[in-house]
Amino acid sequence: GVLACLEMLESRAHREAVEQEEKEKREEKSAFLKTKIRELRLQRDQLRKKLEQLEKEQLGKEGIPLDPPLPSPREVLEWKIGNLRDLLQVFQLTGISGKLSKHGVCFSLHTAFEGSFLDSFHLELLLRPEFQEFRIQRHSIPPFIPLEQLSRKFLPSDLRGFLDSLFQHLNAFVGRRHQLEQFQEQFSEYIQGNPQRNSLCNLLSFRYQIPGKSGNSVFRAQLLYEDPCRSLPTEVSISCS
């Protein structure tokens, strides 16, 4: 009873002493920081005064306020060139880019499939603004792409439509061909003989078996790609011999 009371009193006293100590410390610190703030404010005011004085002196000399230093013309030009280069690179990444040539415009079509850039094709158009016409001067488009047909359909009025459509045809063709090449590479044990294809890769047939699963039976698959602008087949037929 009594000892417990005494202990309690002792701990309470101890606690209060600690709190008192901390309070004093805080007050000390606060006072210290307050003086510090006052000192810094004083310093700032002094520096401001000094700056104003210097500016007044400069003004007195030239009469023009000082600007931050201008970039040199060379730096500006380099920045502009860098910017344009990046822009051209962005255009190339979109797939269709162009450049004015001696006779007209030269378009470059860079095809891609699933993240890898594949073949590039070029097309030079002769510009004749007086006749409102675009004529194909030179090109490196393969002969099985219906270039004539597309130019008759879209040119001269719809150049963008022409390029878009041509690009879709080329991309789809390159995509189909790429898929076939990958297929032959990665599934060589499954395929029997050589797959039969045509130039546009829009009709494909091959014989295959699944090692370990199909036993002795050989399957024959035929893939038809009806849409020339798509790289996926529209009709697939599989037969078993």
Partner: protein, 346 residues
């Protein structure tokens, strides 16, 4: 086995250089690997061919298989033949789903309906080329296997490459069969001939090097003109002229290798231009003459004319337009108009 077939195989093997016989027989695939092992390729060709014929006898070869061996030989030695290019025209604009089985059937059907005695053989290659060999007979004679025609066709294109047999009378029939089989309605011969089949393909398929103006992220890789000499005492006097020539050449010919043509022929029907006082020609008639440029590699030699100092740059467009116009036979007539230059007929 038929004696004519045996003789044909013997003669075909004799054409092949000795060190290539084994490879070609393997490509042929008609004789088994075991049978090929029994052949001694170190003896004289006469003996090799006799042994091959004997093995073919064991396998009962017929003319169809022999014809395949002939195609293989001609595919490897395609540059020994002269190839002409033909262009087909289509009326409709529907999309084609070229089916090789369909093509073969139509081709054989059309030919056989006109001429019973023909041997028709097909072989497809990796690059999508369809090779067709046709040996021609008459209604009364069996086909002459030693003078066949060869046709190379890439599906869904309007171009056909033909190496004609000497029997030219069969050409119209061949052309007919081709347009029927490939769903076109007309065919005409282009003014383009060469021994190099691949170069002809490069020209009409637009695969040859053309100089297109593009923005490329990598710096252009043109050939560098002669590098600076190590010795600073040597100075290039006409450096700017050399660079001008180089630049013009690049513009016209592009940076890559040129298609291989052996000649370009210009038939001139132009008026001879001379000092009127000289009166070389009494009559004012067109001066007819034929100018033919020949070379083992015509376009490369034209490309090197200006840098070698033998001609002024830029070269005449009559010479540089050859791959673009896809022709190496030209007729030049007078153009009756404002321009005094000659007119190239299409």
């Amino acid at each position: 086995m038929d004696e004519t077939v045996a003789e044909y195989i013997r003669r075909t093997v004799l054409k092949i250089p000795r060190n290539e016989i084994k490879m070609m027989l393997q490509k042929w695939g008609f004789l088994s690997e075991a049978q090929l092992q029994t052949l001694n390729f170190h003896q004289i060709k006469d003996s090799i061919s006799q042994e091959v014929v004997q093995l073919c006898e064991e396998n009962s070869a017929d003319i169809k298989q022999a014809a395949v061996l002939d195609i293989i030989y001609n595919h490897i030695y395609q540059n020994k033949r002269m190839w002409s290019v033909y262009q087909m025209k289509k009326s409709g604009e529907e999309l084609e789903y070229f089916d090789i089985t369909d093509f073969k059937k139509k081709f054989k059907g059309r030919l056989r309906s006109a001429l019973k005695n023909v041997t028709i053989t097909f072989k497809e290659y990796e690059d999508n080329a369809i090779w067709i060999r046709v040996a021609w007979g008459t209604p009364y004679k069996k086909p002459n296997q030693y003078k066949p025609s060869y046709v190379v066709y890439h599906s869904q294109t309007p171009y056909v490459f033909i190496s004609s047999s000497v029997l030219k009378s069969n050409l119209p029939l061949l052309c007919q069969a081709l347009i029927v089989a490939s769903n076109y309605h007309d065919i005409r011969e282009m003014e383009l001939r060469s021994h190099s089949l691949n170069s002809l393909k490069d020209i009409v398929f637009k695969r040859y090097s053309q100089n297109f103006q593009t923005y490329s992220p990598k710096p252009l890789q043109g050939e560098t003109i002669e590098p600076e000499s190590a010795d600073i005492r040597i100075v290039q006097e006409n450096r700017s002229e050399k660079e001008r020539i180089h630049r013009l050449n690049q513009e016209v010919f592009g940076g890559g290798p040129q298609p291989k043509l052996e000649f370009a022929q210009y038939q001139l029907e132009t008026m001879f231009k001379s000092d009127p006082n000289m009166g070389v020609l009494d009559k004012k008639e067109p001066f007819r003459c034929l100018v033919k440029f020949s070379s083992p590699h015509l376009l490369e030699s034209l490309k090197s004319l200006a840098p070698a100092g033998m001609a002024d740059a830029p070269l005449s467009p009559l010479l540089t337009c050859i791959p673009h116009k896809a022709r190496n036979y030209f007729k030049i007539r007078e153009k009756k108009s404002l321009f005094p230059e000659s007119f190239v007929s299409p």
